[in-house]
Symmetry: C2
Subunit: 316 residues, 2 copies
DNA sequence: ACCATTTACTTGACTTAGTCAACTATATCG
DNA sequence: CGATATAGTTGACTAAGTCAAGTAAATGGT
């Protein structure tokens, strides 16, 4: 993955390290088992890997293959020479660089690869077939997660995108806010219930002309959200701003607030107001930066804690 | 994993197969990269794997090593002979079987293994260190999932367990119910809002003496839930029964309803009532099996659909 | 335009890692 | 007790991969 935000890490937890090492040992063996089944073919495992790359990507050079598969250049050279001798590949010198040549499978090469590919496919199919469908999904989802997290070369992804509310979001936001504030500030389950209540009311009385929601999504996961509701014809209220800890530092919070302000202005509201608690420092900094002014403070006891509530207004 | 429930599988989906193959190629490379760093040592990769096993498990025999690491018996024999020559291991013939011997690292063997182990540890630590902590957690969680799913020898796991509500649950249940009914029956976002509202009210007015919740959890994931609320001193109401599609067929639905009935009886309620919709067939079958009787039906328009609501009662 | 350096690939010489089959000693089954 | 299986060993072998030196083309700096 591309690292957009790299907080100062302490040395990673030993338990996590051991878990990763255990997985590596486990998966080394797992791959070994799958590969065993392919050994009967005329090709070695590495040859098969090379053929696979050639079958699936066009215009590769010898260096590309060596780099992507982690092979020695001399070894690649010999493999390719052998393939060429057997007429499995053809090479054409690049016009842009006469040292390199673009390698392609010949029809004969494709024919040779087909059974190999089928065997590998069938082997994986057999593996999956041992699991019920729901677990197949969990398996593949986990694999995709690992790949996305470890793949340095993943295409520079869009840091995040904003979209309106969808089904499933209000539950997710409820859950995440409930869990985060419980973890960070020790708030009890009534906070999660309050979020649920607010969001339920938002959906039920939603007036698209005067109200709006923004969900920040990254890699298909919700990482932040904010809501604007109509309090009166003159006053809009910003509610439930949150950004996932894992997505902080990307400016998502500020962006969400800016969207709210722009929307409130466009709709002709005179004031954008919001209510928060003084302990929520990072949210406060966002509001201040956006020009909100502290209007009022009052003590209250909520969510199992003594808190100081704050009202902030922005004149539009 | 041990397969408790193995529905008739069709041939697994090609997309899933390709995803698994992509992961295998990716992880082959990943392991290759990690292993490269260890090549400077005096030991080959396979030797290091053997040493690792010996360092972490006592009383292994040569056959055990060959089987667990997927190595040829002759090769193992030679590796062990070499280790013995360098005084890294000691072998003692088993009393139970004079052909086998139990292999143990000598102190010198442990010394030789230590730097190897440290290098591998550091390498993984460096890998993890590139990720923020939250992503480290996601990574390891995904690895554990894969391992649990693919490891045939994993201890037979508890199919599911029941526990009371925790923070984060009501959001999760809201989300999942909203998504499932949208997917299966085309209900709109007001259903999710209704669930949120009901659950918010449940938490806010929760009376532990007369009310209760049960969350079914499997592998740390919520896979079902049900709630009992007090409608009157005589009548308890069962609400929001649901079971994840992936966990159906384990009897979780029936179990949840049985818990509600037992609770309502124990508390001295006279009637357990519930409201549902006629299209929810699998829920209906559970209620019928538990002895509920259909009391009333009425048409209504909700969640963007024309529906037939049903009231079911069980006299306790 | 020219020279030093780098890159892409090739080749020869080599080592390491792993395989296979034959063999011994012991254990197990009926 | 004899047939068969298992644990481990060994010799003979091959496949797989490494390393260093070399050629030809490209690149960067002056």
């Amino acid at each position: 993955m591309t690292i957009h935000h790299h907080p100062k890490n302490e040395a990673p937890n030993k338990q996590l390290i051991d878990a990763v090492r255990a997985f590596n040992r486990f998966y080394t063996r797992q791959i070994g088992l799958l590969d065993e089944g392919l050994l009967k073919s005329a090709f070695s495992l590495t040859e098969a890997r090379v053929l696979y790359e050639l079958a699936h990507r066009d215009g590769l050079t010898a260096t590309d293959l060596g780099r992507d598969l982690g092979l020695d250049a001399g070894y690649v050279s010999r493999l390719l020479k052998k393939f060429e001798r057997h007429d499995l590949i053809s090479r054409s010198t690049l016009v842009s660089d006469a040292r390199q040549s673009s390698i392609a499978l010949t029809p004969a090469g494709r024919n040779a690869f087909a059974p190999l590919n089928k065997d590998s496919h069938d082997q994986v199919a057999a593996l999956l077939d041992r699991l019920p469908v729901s677990e197949q999904d969990r398996l593949v989802k986990s694999m995709r997660t690992i790949q996305a997290l470890l793949d340095e070369s993943a295409e520079p992804k869009i840091p995040y995108l904003l979209r309106p509310l969808q089904i499933g979001d209000i539950g997710w936001i409820t859950r995440r806010q409930g869990m985060l504030y419980a973890q960070d500030y020790g708030w009890d389950e009534t906070y999660e219930a309050l979020v649920a209540e607010i969001l339920a009311a938002f959906v039920k009385s939603f007036d698209p002309k005067w109200e709006r929601s923004w969900i920040a999504e990254r890699d298909g996961e919700v990482v932040g959200s904010v809501f604007v509701v109509r309090k009166s014809p003159e006053v809009a209220k910003l509610r439930l701003l949150y950004v996932e800890p894992s997505a902080r530092g990307l400016g998502i919070g500020g962006r969400l607030v800016d969207e709210c302000i722009a929307f409130a202005r466009a709709k002709g509201y005179k004031t954008l107001t919001l209510w928060t608690n003084d302990i929520l420092g990072s949210a406060r900094r966002i509001y201040q930066a956006a020009g909100f002014k502290l209007i009022d403070e009052e003590r209250h006891h909520s969510f199992g804690k003594d808190l100081v509530g704050q009202t902030w207004d922005l004149e539009l």
